[in-house]
Each structure stands twice: as C-alpha cells, then as structure tokens.
Symmetry: C2
Subunit: 149 residues, 2 copies
C-alpha cells in the first residue's frame, strides 16, 4: 500500500474486488443535473417522464458511472490511482430509490503500473452499467529504489 | 426533429457538432463529491492536493464526462436520445475555475438508428477528455409509418 492507503502494483492480482452501494435519491438526481447541466425532463419531471418508454423519472447514466469512479478512487486501487480510460455500456435505467452497487474487479495487471479493471453497476440482479477501466498505480519497488538512490 | 426538438436519424450527418461550456467551480466539485461518493482529498483539500503531482485541487474526471452527456441529452442528438455506450480517455486535469467546453460531433450514422459520436472536453486548447459515444435516436419515417399503419 502507498502512504495514502491505496494499492501499489505489487499488491494487485486478478480477481481482487471492491464495491460500494448508494441509494439514488431524487435529490441526488437534481444535484447531478445542476453540476452537469443535463436538465433533460426525463430525469427531473415525473409527469413528463411518465409519458416516455421509461414510464417515470430515471437517473443520469453518468451518475451511476460516477459511483464506479468513486470505488476506483477510494477503494480499488484507491488513493494515488491515476484514471486513464473508462468504457461504459448503459444497459438498464436506474430510478429514484434504487440502490446501485458499483463493483470494481481487477482483470489484468500489466507492466508500467497499468491495471485493467472490470467495472459494473447493479440494481439487485440487474446489470445497469457494464464496462472496463484502465488505471495507473504506483510501485513500492520504484519508491524504494528512489529512496536508496 | 422529434416532438421534443431532438434530432431524428434522418436529420443527422457526419460533421454536425454541438457544444456547451461550463466554468467548473469548487462548489461544483463539492456537489459532485457528495453525489458520487468520491471524496478523494485531491478533489477537496487544497493543502493535501498541493503535495500531489497535480500541485492543487482537480475536478473529478467524470464531472467533465458528465458535460458530454449533457450535450448529448440536451443538444445533439438531444431529447429522446438513448445513450448506449461511452468511451472516455482522461488526458489532463481540470482545475477549479477552468472553463470546460464539451464538444460532440457526429462521426457516423449507422443503421437501426445508431449514431457514433466523437466526444471531447477542452480547456482552452488542451484536450482534457477524449472519447467516443454510441447513441440510438428515433426515426421520422418510422413514426410516419406507424401513424399510417
């Protein structure tokens, strides 16, 4: 682990996993609309949203995606991680009151500190967002080498 | 255009582009941290962030990405669009006070209402996020066919 309690490349192996769950409230959706500028009525206006194929308000897809980035930043690999790439596939809607579980699993540890992550958001048994992340993490060996140099 | 003023597949051609700009405030970053749960001190604590390679607080990468989704949802293709996929590459940090311009450009109009979008966030001349989106839009011809049927 590094000094911030984030994982070094030497600590990581395929299959390691971390997650966090969050209930998505209507207040969260309103805040996300304010920050992003995405004020589409399908997110904000129940009367309008009820007329769409979704049948009611849904959360922004990027709100669920932001939970993935929170797991990456806070837990696996955690503080010190540099986010390089993220692929997202939006599979199913998330509604106010849904509990979204964001799950990050190490798929591959590459050279140069690069780690491929499987990234998924679920509501119950339904995968609502799937995808893959690529991050860069530090190295204990490199820090020790620098310290000795 | 559809009844919500979003583009139909018949309206779209490669090269069409739309954008929005937003100054990212520290208040935006705090709100994004609340909604996402990503409370990494590199986003929130100037004293800590000053000790990192970034030299000061930076915005969440997904905050810039959320501006892309706002352009897709509000402008191009606009209301009625279904977001299928988004690939993101995080290239450079965004700092409080930076003005992020999110630019969406039609790259390819495919069959079955699918449209490939080039998606980019810039701060001045620097590309901070690049990537590609895949969306599904409605069809005027199909709506008229249904109306006649």
């Amino acid at each position: 682990m590094n000094e911030l309690n984030g994982y070094d490349i030497e600590d990581l192996a395929p299959g390691m996993s971390a997650s966090m769950s969050k209930e998505i409230s209507h207040a969260d959706i309103v805040k996300f609309a304010e920050v992003s500028g995405d004020v589409n009525p399908v997110h904000l206006d129940e009367d309008y949203a009820a007329t769409t194929p979704f049948g009611g308000r849904i959360a922004h897809g990027m709100l669920s995606a932001s939970l993935i980035s929170a797991v990456v930043a806070n837990r696996l690999p955690g503080p010190g991680t540099v986010y390089l790439d993220q692929k997202l596939t939006f599979r199913a809607p998330v509604r106010p009151g849904d509990i979204v579980e964001a799950v990050v699993t190490v798929r591959e540890v590459q050279d140069k500190g690069r780690v491929v992550l499987e990234t998924e958001c679920r509501v119950g048994d339904t995968i609502v967002v799937s995808g893959e992340g690529l991050v860069k993490v530090g190295s204990l060996a490199r820090r020790q080498g620098k310290a000795r140099a």
